[in-house]
């Protein structure tokens, strides 16, 4: 083993720690009767955090691994979300064990926890990948554990449908994305992202590049769209979310989105400076506009809570794409230091993920409720899982803490100030308006596209408020005699409260998160106007 590979291993230490923890969970569950797989998972994540903290976050490239502020931000996001999801998932499982549902046994805990750790390791790998092969390997290491988690959780027909649907679509998306990678390899003649970028810059007008680049962009965006649950690969989300558990829905609505954003961000660096930059931002602007509108309009008609949140997660994929689009069209403002859309997207991703995990955590925590029943009408019917918006009727009376938490998360998702979602939408709208900020708004100009996108963004936020308010209205304005069980497990409740605390922290002090996101975004897509010293000076002196 030479020095280079040792160094490589040390760079991948957090991922290695998580894989080792996964092995402990698998082997312990199978051979040593280990029961608390999720504890192992949590310990593994914490250990990975410690290792990550010890690592230098400045740019280090080695054998296709890029350790820069961007990958560090992604790593921390993955680990933090992983810990929260771990709590939601374990709470979820606790409920399943207590209710003695068919086909679930305690041994499953360890397998699930191990699989979940592998997923996180894969996602973290995607974040640091500086090489096409490693990127694809990481993405598959995200996808395959996801199939298993979806399949393990549910044994009823709907659950099987959900996991099958996700499986096939994910395969198709992976194949499509693989074609995009092949095209990039064809242009660059290397699997290393840096080498491909250099080659592209050098011969962007070459015939191969001209022919393959649009194909690579189109296929790559579609491949990423599946993970983001963005149009045109969005339609699976409602069915899959409905058919799975709240914990898995929380996972599906956050972690694959991280992967999708990373893929798009890496793609940006590649083709950003290349010959046909107009293509990428045009595609992404259209996708963002369509995605958020479709997601929100679909959500307006949903009565099932998980379907509704699935549609809302589609809409949020559209918001996330706004920043990507802005980053793909570097601002030509003469005197302004652009924050870049990527920073805004990374910031928004975190605020969105916290609120979403909070909502699903709360639903997982609430678990079941008694159906309508009066004591003369025969035996008491069995309790039902909370599935529809109506099931939350009167929650403010029966479980005020959960109702308050859900209301805060939903208002944050709706972008009501001063909650984190508002700061996120502020950053996104700003990044869109920033594009060609000094130019006149002429029909068809780049500026007009982005101003239109910003208008759609805020109007969509208003549409979205309608269905979020419907849930809040059910919880606060209606009354019910049906009691909520709150049997989903303490861990899910803890996750909910943790998310509430995080929301509060970002509300009061959004700066910390935004600073990290900006540093991450700028390390990948450098600020457009950074070359102008006077703009830098004025900002520095303030």
């Amino acid at each position: 083993m030479n020095a280079t590979s040792l160094e490589t291993f040390s760079l991948l230490a957090p991922e290695i720690v998580m894989v080792l923890a996964a092995l402990v969970a698998y082997l312990g569950g199978a051979f040593a009767g280990l029961r608390f797989g999720w504890l192992v998972a949590a310990a593994g994540i914490v250990a990975a955090m410690v290792v990550t903290r010890g690592q230098a976050s400045d740019a280090a490239f080695s054998a296709g691994i890029a350790i820069d502020p961007f990958s560090t931000y992604i790593r921390w996001t993955v680990l933090a979300l992983g810990l929260l999801l771990c709590l939601v998932q374990s709470g979820d499982l606790f409920a399943a064990a207590v209710s003695r549902g068919p086909g679930l046994h305690r041994g499953g805990t360890c397998e699930e926890a191990g699989t979940f750790l592998l997923l996180l390791a894969g996602l973290s790998l995607v974040g640091v990948a500086g090489d096409l092969v490693l990127l694809f390997a990481g993405l598959e290491l995200v996808s395959i554990p996801t199939y298993i988690l979806l399949g393990l959780k549910r044994t009823d027909a709907r659950g099987q449908e959900a996991s099958l649907k996700y499986f096939f679509l994910s395969l198709v998306a992976s194949a499509i994305f693989l074609y995009a990678l092949v095209c990039l390899y064809g242009i660059g003649g290397s699997t290393d992202l840096g080498a491909i970028a250099a080659r592209l810059k050098a011969e962007a007008t070459g015939r191969t590049a001209q022919a393959l680049l649009p194909l690579a962009i189109g296929l790559g965006v579609v491949g990423a769209a599946f993970r983001l649950a963005a149009v045109p690969m969005h339609f699976y989300a409602p069915d899959v979310y409905e058919g799975t558990s709240p914990g898995n829905a929380a996972l599906l609505s956050t972690l694959p989105k991280v992967a999708g954003i990373v893929v798009l961000a890496r793609l940006l660096v590649l083709v950003g400076p290349a010959a046909s930059p107009d293509l990428l931002w045009r595609i992404v602007v259209v996708l963002a506009a369509v995605t958020m509108t479709v997601g929100n309009v679909m959500a307006l008609w949903q009565t099932n809570l998980r379907r509704l949140l699935a549609c809302s997660s589609i809409a949020h994929a559209g918001y996330l794409l706004v920043g990507i689009a802005a980053a793909a069209a570097p601002s030509l403002s003469p005197r302004l230091l652009s924050t870049g859309g990527l920073s805004a997207t990374l910031f928004y991703l975190a605020t969105y993920a916290i609120a979403t995990i909070g909502v699903f955590g709360a639903i997982a925590y609430l678990g079941h409720r008694w159906p309508e029943w009066t004591s003369g009408s025969g035996p008491r019917p069995p309790r039902e899982e909370i599935t529809t918006v109506d099931d939350l009727d009167g929650l403010s009376g029966t479980n005020p803490v959960a109702a308050f938490a859900i209301a805060v998360f939903l208002l944050s998702l709706a972008g009501i100030p001063p909650l984190p979602g508002f700061w996120g939408k502020l950053a996104l709208a700003f990044s869109a308006l920033e594009v060609d900020g000094a130019a006149a708004i002429e029909v068809g100009s780049r500026r007009s596209w982005f101003v239109g996108l910003a208008v759609l963004l805020v109007l969509n936020a208003a549409i979205a408020a309608a269905y979020y308010l419907r849930i809040i209205a059910a919880m606060y304005f209606k009354t019910t005699k049906r009691g909520v069980q709150a049997d989903g497990g303490l861990a899910a409740g803890v996750a909910m409260l943790a998310c509430l605390v995080l929301v509060g922290m970002v509300t009061v002090r959004p700066r910390g998160l935004l600073t990290a996101a900006s540093r991450a975004g700028e390390s990948l897509v450098p600020p457009a106007a950074a070359a102008l010293p006077d703009a830098l000076d004025t900002i520095a002196t303030r």
Partner: protein, 572 residues
């Protein structure tokens, strides 16, 4: 008087309701009376702090020259391009609105005293949070901070309407929220565009409102085809939010529903303070930052104001529900303010600014009294009410007072504002507009005068039917909940037919907390009416400064049109 710095004084005034909200929440287990008492104490303390702050403001010679008072500033989100600061301060524009918000919060608590029995903790906590947001929005000196408060006022009011409102409360709450939000998100984009424009041209990123006003003077947003009419686009974006908030006809449809369904305390805050945010937004942002666009839009908005006056009055005239009538009278009266604002003469704009306070007092008072009437007779149907003057003489006195204030009786506050607005509008019609516009302005101003007559008609007719005449309220036995707590009128005859003259058993006059709710408003109604200069003078320089650029731009535009018309006539 110099016990502590104005900055901490201002911060304390805004924070006091939040502290009170926490106290009210902690007292929740001790029952209704503890909660409402703590809420009352909080609002009174806040009012005292605000009043003292205003006194200090007026005593400070620096404020007369237009300097803001009680500056508070610390960074909130300063990263990269963002420079959002938590920056507060009072100036002539915000001074009276700040005080009004503190005053009406006291009214809102006292009118809810007996009306709110369900979940009182939540109610008073939300009311106090709303008060903090209302105080904050007028004190904000940062664009984003303003917007944060502006939007955040929706949340407590959404819950206040949705939980404690009347029959259609859920629909009203959602409609109110969505309607207002849709408008204000466009305002948000408009504000961001101004910030970015300024940043691009001045090279300095700032969200500070005053710096932006100065900056847009040096680098005005383009108002030419080459510049994409950016200034007009931004003006329309700001208008979207402000017009819904005011509301300017035809964006008023959320208002009657929200007002009618809201609990009395919510109506008081909504009509008294929150509607004014739209006008305040025009004064704070549109007029100083986008003067050329304002000059173009001014005649049209002036016209929409007049439409609002007449339309609101005509619709109010046919209402059968007393609260709905008052709601439509708000549409009509806000029309005057819009009209005065966009007349762009000093007298009219100052009158409009004063009228903000006047309408706040009279509409809040009327909504409070309608709430009290509803509590007594469990109907707001004008046809079912009657003869209240003989049963509740003091209630009737206050109702008359606020009615007279609302229709602009000389000697009361409403007269001063309305007179100044109309005077300024006629000035605008006679001087300073091009011949082409002169006739239109004159017709519109005359229509507004007709609106005054209509206003007197619907209000006095309602007063006549509700306060005087025979007692027509529904029989008292018909399920209207005579709780033992209502001692003052609870000993009356159950099953009393309610026809004929009232006797002692029928008396149900104001109780102490109801008096506490309306008496302070009445004091100011008289005070402003008798010595308007006291209230006009501190605001005048700020209003003039805010509208000066727009007035100049308007004059230039009219001058150009006059020249063009003259040229057309002389060289046919």
């Amino acid at each position: 008087m110099n016990g502590f710095s104005p900055s901490s004084h201002l911060l304390l005034t805004i924070a006091a309701p939040l502290v009170g909200a926490v106290i009210a929440w902690l007292l929740g287990s001790r029952g209704v009376s503890a909660v409402r008492q703590s809420a009352a104490v909080t609002t009174l303390v806040t009012l005292a702090l605000a009043a003292w702050l205003i006194v200090r403001y007026l005593a400070d010679p620096a404020t007369a020259s237009g300097l803001p008072y009680g500056l508070v500033e610390f960074p909130w989100l300063t990263e990269g391009i963002f420079d959002v600061r938590f920056s507060l301060g009072l100036d002539g524009l915000s001074l009276w609105m700040f005080g009004l918000a503190a005053l009406l919060s006291v009214t809102a608590v006292f009118v809810s005293w007996d009306a709110i029995k369900d979940r009182p903790v939540g109610f008073y906590v939300l009311l106090l949070v709303l008060e903090a947001a209302m105080l904050g929005v007028f004190a904000a000196r940062d664009v984003i901070l303003f917007y944060v408060f502006f939007e955040f006022t929706l949340v407590p009011l959404f819950f206040l309407i949705g939980i404690w409102g009347h029959d259609e409360r859920r629909k009203a709450a959602v409609k109110f929220f969505i309607y207002t939000l849709t408008g204000s998100v466009l305002t948000f984009l408009g504000l961001l565009t101004i910030v970015l424009w300024h940043a691009n041209h001045a090279g300095v990123v700032t969200f500070d409102i005053e710096s932006l006003v100065d900056g847009t003077k040096i680098h005005p947003l383009p108002m030419t085809a080459a510049g994409g009419w950016l200034q007009m686009v931004v003006f329309l974006a700001l208008l979207a939010g402000f017009a819904v908030k005011v509301p300017i006809v035809p964006f008023h449809t959320w208002l009657p529903l929200a007002h009618v369904e809201a609990p009395t305390g919510g109506s008081v805050d909504l009509a008294g303070v929150l509607l004014k945010l739209g006008i305040y937004g025009f004064l704070r942002f549109s007029m100083p930052m986008l003067p050329e666009a304002t000059a173009v839009a001014a005649p049209w908005l002036f016209g929409l104001g007049v439409v609002g006056i007449v339309y609101g009055a005509l619709v109010a005239l046919v209402q059968t529900d007393l609260k709905r009538l008052i709601a439509y009278s708000s549409v009509s009266h806000m029309g005057y303010i819009v009209m005065g604002l966009f007349a762009l003469t000093p007298v009219a704009t100052e009158g409009a600014n004063l009228q903000l306070v006047n309408h706040g007092l009279s509409s809040a008072g009327l909504f409070a009294l309608v709430g009290m009437i509803y509590e007594r007779f469990h109907t707001r149907n004008i046809a079912s009410l009657g003869g209240i003057a003989s049963k509740a003489p003091w209630l009737a006195v206050f109702f008359m007072l606020f009615t007279f204030s609302s229709i602009g009786l000389p000697g009361l506050n409403g007269f001063v504002g309305e007179f100044m607005i109309l005077l300024g509008s006629f000035q605008r019609a006679w001087s300073g507009v091009s011949p082409a516009w002169q006739f239109a302005y004159l017709v519109m101003a005359l229509l507004a005068v007709a609106g005054v007559v209509l206003g007197a008609w619907y209000m006095l007719w309602a007063v006549e039917r509700v306060l005087f005449g025979g007692s027509r309220e529904p029989p008292r036995s018909a399920g209207h909940g005579h709780e033992p707590g209502h001692a003052d009128h609870g000993h009356g005859g159950h099953g009393h037919g309610g026809h004929g003259a009232a006797d002692d058993h029928d008396r149900c006059d104001l109780r102490w907390h109801e008096l506490a709710a309306v008496l302070p408003l009445a004091v100011f109604v008289l005070w402003i009416g008798l010595t308007p200069a006291t209230f006009l003078a501190p605001a005048a320089p700020a209003v003039r400064k805010a509208t000066a650029a727009s007035a100049v731009a308007f004059a230039a535009r009219m001058q150009a049109e006059t020249t063009a018309t003259v040229a057309r006539i002389t060289n046919p």
